[in-house]
């Protein structure tokens, strides 16, 4: 073998290495995430009910048309999803940012405090649902008791019998769980700000609020945009908390789009219709993400 051929072989092996290293991950993702994603769209244009296998056929956009014109529950779920995402994310952004600012100050026992206060991050949605159901319980729950002794309510009531209360209760549980996620992201962004800039702002006579609004927030703008975007998508998709806390009730007042997909799939066994709902929710998220990034003028460095 000549020297140049040997070199060429060596060069090729070098070139192939990253692909070989990434191959297992890419195969996993292609087979179990990309292919299913495409599959959802192909199923969504079929009449595909598990209990009626003989009727399976291509029906074009019929499922989509039915969803938009003859399905009041879809519109209700869409509205619920909007409220659920908007209120949750706004509250989590505010509280998470506040907590991050606090944790960015030095005080005794900060490491331990941080580990404790961020711990809801690790609690699963199902567990959050169950924990909070024990708090909201009409007679055995602690919340009614506290509100009553504070004189805020006259008698104990059921949090899950009226639409407004049920939604409020679900969002509060979700906010409790989501604050640490925001906080973690903002913390690393805050840590990257050079402290010299605060010193010079102080010398120029800027007070705390001015520094916050004119320096801190603009400096971590990209993180705020990215975090709220990712969390909006995640909150939109999150189904386990609602599933275990209210299961969409009362009277579908807390049914969001993903929960509606889940019940259509699990109890209705209507794969075609559920897939069409899933397709719509995917498109909604893509449009939302695109607009959000454009409006926020997200800098590229924020992504990488």
């Amino acid at each position: 073998m000549s020297v140049s051929a040997k070199r060429g072989k060596h060069f090729n092996r070098q070139k192939a290495t990253p692909y070989l290293l990434l191959a297992p991950i890419l195969i996993f993702v292609a087979l179990l995430m990309l292919y299913p994603m495409i599959n959802v769209f192909t199923m969504s244009v079929q009449n595909y009910k598990i209990l009626k296998p003989k009727e399976r056929a291509f029906i074009g956009l019929q499922n989509y048309i039915t969803i938009f014109t003859k399905d009041p529950l879809f519109l209700k779920a869409l509205k619920n999803s909007g409220i659920w995402v908007a209120v949750s994310v706004v509250m989590q952004t505010f509280l998470g940012f506040w907590l991050a600012m606090l944790l960015n100050t030095s005080f005794k026992g900060r490491g331990l405090y941080r580990a404790v206060v961020l711990s809801p991050w690790a609690v699963s949605g199902v567990m959050v649902g169950i924990i909070w159901s024990l708090i909201y319980g009409e007679t055995y729950g602690v919340l009614n008791d506290v509100l009553k002794s504070l004189g805020l309510i006259e008698r104990k009531f059921s949090w899950f019998s009226s639409a407004g209360h049920a939604m409020t209760a679900t969002i509060i549980a979700n906010v409790w769980r989501g604050i640490p996620f925001f906080c973690l992201n903002y913390l690393s962004a805050l840590a990257s700000i050079n402290t010299d800039i605060y010193e010079s702002a102080k010398i120029d006579g800027a007070n705390g609020w001015v520094t916050l609004v004119k320096i801190t927030i603009p400096m971590i703008k990209d993180t705020i945009i990215l975090t709220t975007l990712l969390r909006s998508i995640w909150t939109f998709n999150a189904v386990d908390l609602i599933y275990s806390l209210t299961y969409g009730g009362p009277n579908n007042a807390t049914t969001t789009i993903p929960l509606y997909i889940m019940t259509t799939f699990k109890t209705g066994m209507d794969y075609g219709y559920a897939s069409a709902l899933a397709g719509i929710s995917t498109i909604i998220m893509m449009v939302f993400a695109g607009t959000y990034i454009k409006l926020g003028k997200l800098g590229k460095e924020g992504m990488y």
Partner: protein, 280 residues
């Protein structure tokens, strides 16, 4: 009031009081389930509610394992989580290395692809994945959860690993290669030892996520003998609607492993989060 007093007062209002409020809000729910789990069944419904059990009992905990089959659920959850943790750690370690140390055609594509797949919601993928698992006869088989648990955690863990590799100077393994090591042995002898904490953090992240896996579990598992802890708890809530003490005890036991793991790794989570953190 002197300037010093004013400053201390400001610190109390601006720092200590908010810190205390956040702490109480965080801990109160945990305290409440612990409290409920230690009450006997009658006391759970006592009016007014008690903030500390009059009579502490541990029967709620023992019943979980002797009458409600949670020993099985825990074993199932552990099996799934341990396998997922192992698979994800190994693959993310390898893939993260490629993403951090090589420039190659299509790297940007891989990056975008992996970011995007993290936004694919479980409820959407659940439908086709159920069919795939069904055709492979993996419904009511823990293997289906191991496969999906690994797949859904891969991309985030790969990004995490990539961040950790990036923090280690390339000169380290280059020096070893100059000294005559092959790339592979350079990685094993020089790079891996300094990656140990990062591997632990990534693995712990995968463990927590697979321990908490729910949507896929409800879709793939219907027989009680294959239930994982979240499924067991959710069924408990539906079936034994009045045994709140038992439900609370189940939560406490299910929370312990993840909270302990979280306490140790939370420091490592901050850095790699923003890149593609869609998961809670």
């Amino acid at each position: 009031m002197s300037l010093k007093q004013k400053r201390i007062l400001g610190r109390v209002f601006r720092l200590y009081i908010p810190l205390a409020v956040f702490l109480v809000i965080t801990l109160a729910p945990f305290y409440w389930i612990l409290n409920t789990s230690l009450k006997d069944p009658q006391e759970v419904f006592s009016n007014p509610v008690t903030y500390w059990p009059n009579q502490m009992v541990i029967s709620n905990y023992t019943n979980l394992f002797t009458s409600y089959g949670f020993d099985r659920y825990f074993l199932n959850s552990f099996t799934v989580s341990v396998f997922v943790t192992f698979i994800v750690s190994v693959l993310a370690l390898i893939g993260g290395f490629a993403m951090s140390r090589f420039t190659f055609k299509g790297k940007g594509m891989v990056y975008i692809l992996m970011l995007c797949t993290q936004m694919f919601p479980a409820v959407v993928l659940m439908i086709p994945l159920f069919r795939i698992m069904n055709s492979m006869k993996l419904i009511n088989n823990l293997l289906s959860l191991i496969i999906i648990g690994s797949c859904t955690n891969l991309s985030f863990c790969m990004f995490m690993m990539m961040g950790f590799y990036n923090a280690i100077p390339r000169s380290l393994e280059e020096a070893a290669q100059v000294d005559g090591c092959t790339l592979l042995s350079a990685v094993f002898r020089v790079l891996l030892p300094s990656m140990k904490p990062s591997i632990v953090a990534t693995g712990a992240y995968a463990f927590i996520n697979s321990w908490n896996m729910f949507v896929y579990a409800t879709a793939f598992i219907t027989r009680k003998q294959y239930y994982t802890v979240p499924l067991g708890l959710n069924m408990f809530k539906g079936e034994f609607t009045t045994n709140y003490g038992g439900l609370a005890a189940g939560c406490v036991v299910a929370l312990l492993p993840v909270l302990i793991i979280f306490a140790f790794i939370q420091k490592h989570l901050a850095g790699g989060m923003t890149a593609g953190a869609v998961k809670g």
